[in-house]
Symmetry: C2
Subunit: 293 residues, 2 copies
């Protein structure tokens, strides 16, 4: 099976589990509908797929990581809902659909985000397929990588601090390492934890995640300049119109593409250095650099 077919298969399993966790019988149907709406809104599921593929590369069945993958996607989704709010990025569209607060109103959108964030930890805590020690390690890792002390929230706060200011390349990389990189790091490290890997392997997993996360972000910026608006579900050129610093705006398109190629090469070489079956992960890494949305 090619990488696209396999990604589609994993995505289907993740989607089923996500909805099973969130769409429970409820006396607050609007809240649950709002949570489902953003979760179902056509994400690529790159983070949970990475977690499951990494776990398989260590020789484990991907079901062992399904709860962690679902929790990760719930955290990613909550961050998008809150990020789109008028007080934050004030976005009306996400993946071609109206953003959560545009459909359900701001109050429900805030609560839907809070709900996904809270329930993500419930999913990890009650994952009966893993030993209690591993569950606890995963909860520590998720709260650290998503948190406000060198975590995703720190990255979002840095992003807000940088608004309207000129940001240099180092500062831009640092914001992205936190804002998007930390959850990608969770995907890789969670797989390593479940597969009980020693510290030196965990450190290599971190390095791989950083390279891959950076490549992901550079491709995001390139797509914003030369992507296909229809495939992306958002207009091209939105970064420039918001005067956001990007790899393209700081380096130019040619140098940004070179930087992307360098990061992908470094990521691939780190994969070669890990004691894993890396074919699918290599294909996934190439996909990140070549994706059209």
């Amino acid at each position: 099976m090619d990488i696209h077919g396999y990604m589609a298969q994993l995505k289907e399993e993740i989607d089923q589990q996500l909805i099973a966790v969130i769409a429970c019988p409820t006396e607050t149907p609007l809240l649950v509908e709002a949570m489902c709406y953003s979760v179902e809104n056509g994400g690529k599921r790159l983070r949970p797929i990475l977690l499951l593929m990494m776990l398989e590369a260590f020789g484990y069945h991907c079901q062992k990581g399904m709860h962690a993958a679902v929790a990760l996607e719930m955290i990613h989704t909550y961050s998008l809902i809150h990020d789109d709010l008028p007080a934050m990025d004030d976005d009306d569209l996400r993946r071609g659909q109206p953003t959560n607060h545009k459909v359900y109103g701001e109050a429900v959108a805030i609560l839907a985000g809070d709900g996904l964030l809270t329930e993500a930890f419930h999913v990890l805590a009650k994952d009966k397929g893993l030993p209690v020690e591993t569950r606890l390690e995963l909860i520590q890792l998720l709260s650290a990588t998503a948190g406000a002390q060198k975590g995703m929230i720190t990255g979002q706060a840095l992003d807000i601090q940088a608004e309207g200011k000129k940001v240099n390349l180092m500062a831009l990389k640092h914001i992205h390492e936190l804002k998007t990189g930390r959850l990608i790091e969770f995907a890789c490290l969670a797989a390593g934890m479940i597969a009980k890997q020693p510290p030196e392997i965990m450190s290599k997993l971190s390095q791989f995640a950083k390279r891959l996360g950076l490549a992901f972000q550079i491709q995001d910026d390139i797509l914003d300049v030369e992507g296909d608006a229809e495939k992306m579900g958002k207009p091209v050129g939105s970064d420039a119109s918001k005067r956001k610093s990007t790899y393209v705006s700081l380096l130019g398109l040619a140098a940004a593409k070179q930087m992307l190629a360098d990061e992908i090469e470094a990521a691939l070489s780190l994969l070669d250095d890990l004691p894993i079956k890396s074919d699918r992960l290599k294909a996934l890494t190439h996909y990140v650099a070549k994706r059209a949305h």
Copy 2:
């Protein structure tokens, strides 16, 4: 020592621990300041104090419950920050001080809430004073009581659904049981979990928490009618001006006071039924009914 002196002593220890957890070295000083601002903003610490006193009543040292108490107060504080936002209750003042978004802006207030919520689970997960099984049970309990499936967030969503509608007594009680009662239940059940109590005791702890939580809410409504604005740090009569259904608006002041007395009596009798040293908890229960803010 009288109950006020003892509450003040516990509050001081809780406050110290809270600040130690939140005020870490950071590259996002505004975010951390915003988190500290709401945590330091003069709360009574009723929920964490209840947890620690309950644990002592079972014969345990209160330090065993300190991390759980801190996590609980962090969740309570995040819910207040998000609740005060313009899209939610749109409150400018909380305990006589400007609300978080009034001082730091909405974007930082949203992130400060997200940060406190996420870090609360980190505090529980890394509580080295408790066995891993207990930590995991506490995380399950906190994510359930604070969550979007019959948890605090469900109560907030019900509250939003009820806006502008006439609510009857049963519906009002139900909203409060979730919105404020569930975290009070966490306080009691967390103490029971740490003290390894059997199911029949846990069930009595739940019943006590429900009575106490209801009493707390009725007294809140009574204070909004006949309290001292200066002591409360907010104007009297704000419920009526917002046309909110309260125990006083539904029952009248005299019947609301009778209901409060009944709930307190039921709570005290449940304490008598528990295998604990209950003197301080009884004094705390009386305090809830008589507090002036």
